[in-house]
Symmetry: C2
Subunit: 338 residues, 2 copies
Amino acid sequence: MPFTADGARPRLEVFVLPGIGEIRAGDDLAAIILAVAGPAASRLADGDILAVTSKIVSKAEGRQVAATDREQAITDETVRVVATRAHPGGVTRIVENRQGLVMAAAGVDASNVAEGTVLLLPADPDASARALCAALRAATGLELGVLITDTVGRPWRDGQTDIAIGAAGVAVLDDLRGTTDAHGRRLDVTVAAVADEIAGAADLIKGKTSGNPVAVIRGLGHLVAAVDAGDRGARRLLRDSANDMFRIGSAEAYAEGYAAGVAAAGGGASAVASASGATREPTTAEDAAELRERAPSTLPKGQDAVTRETPAGDLPGGARSAGANGPEVATHSGSASL
Amino acid sequence: MPFTADGARPRLEVFVLPGIGEIRAGDDLAAIILAVAGPAASRLADGDILAVTSKIVSKAEGRQVAATDREQAITDETVRVVATRAHPGGVTRIVENRQGLVMAAAGVDASNVAEGTVLLLPADPDASARALCAALRAATGLELGVLITDTVGRPWRDGQTDIAIGAAGVAVLDDLRGTTDAHGRRLDVTVAAVADEIAGAADLIKGKTSGNPVAVIRGLGHLVAAVDAGDRGARRLLRDSANDMFRIGSAEAYAEGYAAGVAAAGGGASAVASASGATREPTTAEDAAELRERAPSTLPKGQDAVTRETPAGDLPGGARSAGANGPEVATHSGSASL
């Protein structure tokens, strides 16, 4: 629990660093941030965490690419299709992308970029965070942390929140397991995803169109100090899909089960054809609608029965390998229930 | 975008109100909060939002119930089983509860309560928030907002975050659709779940065992002012399950599809029996393990094929009715992709 300098009362402050203009490929983000932060000693302090919108990191890293076909760009960034849904404007694809993140459109961003281009996420957001953090620490002599943030939707709840997709110098999880409550009972499933909560707090004042892509979070120095022993970045927050109870959409899993059930029962050729059609990926809204028509009539209401698994090995380079999270994340996955 | 009094720079402050002791059934939460807040004029201000941990609201409302069987308490609070998973200590149930929230164990809390009892969530967290907000506003004359918060896990990402399960006097969604980005393109799928981001920010300083169940968020007065025209509470954040691509777990949907596929293909009695067994709900870890053994061998690795849909009508009273979110939420569900 953080305390202010007088030790009296936990207090958190979040403020933006205004004045960061349009970022271009090759820009030195650390220098730009320090320029708008003013004299470091007066504006930044030990333990401060900088939450940086991924968009400006991508732009600085030249991740803006020509895209006559945004859909192809999404396909190229996809490691695994999680769920798809047709809507009047096309097909929304929820996928696991090369960074291991599950998000709509693989994180490919078509807003706030020049016409005819799209913006990809940083190739390795943790590496981007490490480089930025190291440069800021070297220039200021301060113990700073860096989070790279992006905006995502989530199951079950409407609206979007910001999460941390990259981290350096900040503990992303605050593990309270093993501590006891006021009655002496063990708190066995409390591992707070503090990096995501920090990203959300920063979003509250950064806004989306305000031109304030960097916020400073002050008052969580204990999370900055906590990573001295090792810094594994925001990748620690990724749950291994094999351990995820929601690794694919309900309709997609239903369609897979349906096909397997038909096969197991020795179904005829027509039944199998219907099931395999339902697992083909749609490329247009019309295609998706047609697949939906062919899907099992018992499909849960409001869901599309369309999916395709894209094995990581099918993709050229950069695909996330199984077990990339390492054993530590597996431990969290195994014990922390929803 | 919030600005400080001098209009210069968005800034957010979050601080706890220390000194709130153990809460008992019948306690007047508003009076207790005001007592520790000190003279309202000096400690609270127009536009402040109070994030109150649901646990103390439940305790004040007498939601602590005797429970020799925590599992039965969870069953009683469940409207719909979303997913289950067996682990060495038993079976984790992710369910939609009476409040419409999807969470583990229906939100039934066995920590920080007296032995032999469990704590249920407030029966109507929005109503609790409204009552508390009205009392605080009446006593202080200030335009305050109230969020009631709880801790939840989420698919795809490890760790837990705090969300808003009740709200009054605060806009829970900040709808940026229709606004344009710096290049004049429409931002068509950005609806920020600000109430959840505020809950997360508060959690960063409240901690879990610190005895600081109330935090004040200052600097988001625009969200407090925004609800003058109507206040529909945190229920607006609940996505209708019929519109949710992840309404049930992957393994559960697979098992449903498998059974339907077997039936459609005219499978024999043994195949159907296997499928129906896979959709029976387990009540013990051993039972779950047995069901897993009987489940289709092609089941995705690491998943349990066990679920049961509990129609709301099967439960005595209080079950969430379809369409309770009203048309406004349906609009959000329909347009806001993940």
